[in-house]
Amino acid sequence: MSELTRLTLAEARDGLKAKTFSATELTKAHLETIEASNEALNAYVLVTPEHALAQAKEADARLAKGEARPLEGLPLGNKDLFCTDGIRTTACSKILDDFKPTYESTVGANLWSAGAVMLGKLNNDEFAMGSSNETSAFGPVVSPWRRNGKTDKLVPGGSSGGSSAAVAAGLCLAATATDTGGSIRQPAALTGTVGIKPTYGRCSRWGIVAFASSLDQAGPIAKTVRDAAIMLGAMAGHDPKDTTSVNAPVPDYEAALGKGIKGLRVGVPKEYRVEGMSKEIDDLWTKGIEWLKAAGATIHEISLPHTKYALPAYYIVAPAEASSNLARYDGVRYGLRVPGKDVIDTYENTRAAGFGKEVRRRILIGTYVLSAGYYDAYYLKAQKVRTLIKRDFDEAWSKVDVVLTPTTPSPAFAFGEKTGDPLAMYLEDIFTVTVNMAGLPGLSVPAGLSSEGTPLGLQLIGKPFDETTLFQTAQAIEDAAGRFTVGERWWAGDAKKAAAAPAKKKPGGK
């Protein structure tokens, strides 16, 4: 196992600049690690070695000439929700089949034009609908983390489970991800990685397979706070092709990291002390408060009274927008087609065969709440509740600069533990979903280990477009808590023994 894959993004960048190793060596080290690990972890649904080595070669040429761009030669993973020009993009659904976009997502294009190298496409819950990566047509991702002394397969979170697992296991230096209700922050929390969902409008949504357009945002999952800051700086920016992308300057997040948090006002919302929250999550939260106090921040109890309504409102808004967005998959213009006796029968056969169970369930819920006579009672009501959720935060910002909460209500769970009951799975997002509903930036930073030895995260919520404060505060937590990395790489070089893990080359049936 190459030591190069243990580097952080910032360390690798410095190593390339110092010519300690080349971009080609760095890329090869990652490709070899993927080769040895992916059968067990199933983090990548497509590895693109030729593409990666060609980008690395160009990076080496630029490095040699002293013309390095910000991410020159740094190998990344790209969530399969991001369209890649000429490279298969499936959203991990059978319905997209062998879809090869003829364009690149804006966020992807930003990264590649900053010099980054793409290693391949990362697994996710089908159409990003899930919190465990178990709904992927390519089969679930296995977390590199295990409970102390146990070998049960744990989920890496979702929907960006391929991203979180790949970063935690050293299968890329950092990864792209998307977050509609917690899909960056929850997987980051469960794998000891850092994930940030920026303010809605900070990153362009153009070329990202749409789930719920008023909630979707792209962001990075990375090994450290600094790495996440570097990544977001490269991904963000105004894009005329996305009307909701905001034309605001992107600050130098990395440069702001060292500023410290003396005098920062941190809010602790009492409504997040939910019934049934485990003691270790509560203790972690208390520890986080102590760390921030020690770093010079002041702590203030705040109230966000509409918190409990965020999740039910989300499960109206998100399925409604999904049912509309996913209407485009009809077997006519791209993807799978299952013929029928007429055109409607063809649509119905295609969509029944192409969508997985959770996606079908959400489309049906969405169709129901948008159907004639129900729009006001459901979708409009939920959008009004969003206003109230946002208003809670607007009031909080007069007293505090940032809000601290746990990221998830419990540590990583094992395969199948929550698949029986959709509502139990939905509760995974209870602390993250308010942030999407209000459009605010949210960041998850590793803060400790559970009694089972698995990672736990704390969430920071910021004012609109104030990602800088999130990075600075997260840095204070990281400085106090340290980093959490998987000790033994049990999965690597042991691919044959792990053959029982579901790793499929193409989306196939169960």
């Binding site: 309504y309 213009r333 791209y334 119905e348 969509r351 009004k384 206003t387 946002k390 509502l423 459009g439």
Partner: protein
């Protein structure tokens, strides 16, 4: 809100998703469960609340009214399951 099997079938038809009898039965319970759960929103009085439309007040962007794209028919039909020339082919719609 109790969703019956007939409603499940109507919704599935609207969504253009074929469902089996078995699926219709299990969806009845699942959809009812989720819809009952979201009904807690009725506790909140929203009569004088405006629906949220955007996070940060921002004027809708406009662009110049001119053609900026096009002449890419090959790219558009590239991923289609069945194509004839630059047309998407579907089962006969009009007799």
């Amino acid at each position: 809100m109790q969703v019956d099997e007939k409603t499940v079938r109507r919704i599935a038809r609207l969504a253009r998703i074929k469902i089996t009898d078995e699926e219709a039965k299990s969806l009845e319970g699942e959809l009812s469960g989720i819809l009952n759960w979201v009904e807690q929103l009725d506790e909140i009085d929203t009569t004088s609340v405006e629906p949220m439309t955007r996070v940060v007040a921002q004027e809708l962007k406009k662009r110049e009214d001119r053609v900026t794209d096009g002449e890419i028919a090959d790219a558009i039909v590239k991923n289609a399951p069945v194509v004839d020339d630059h047309y998407f082919v579907v089962p006969k719609v009009v007799e």
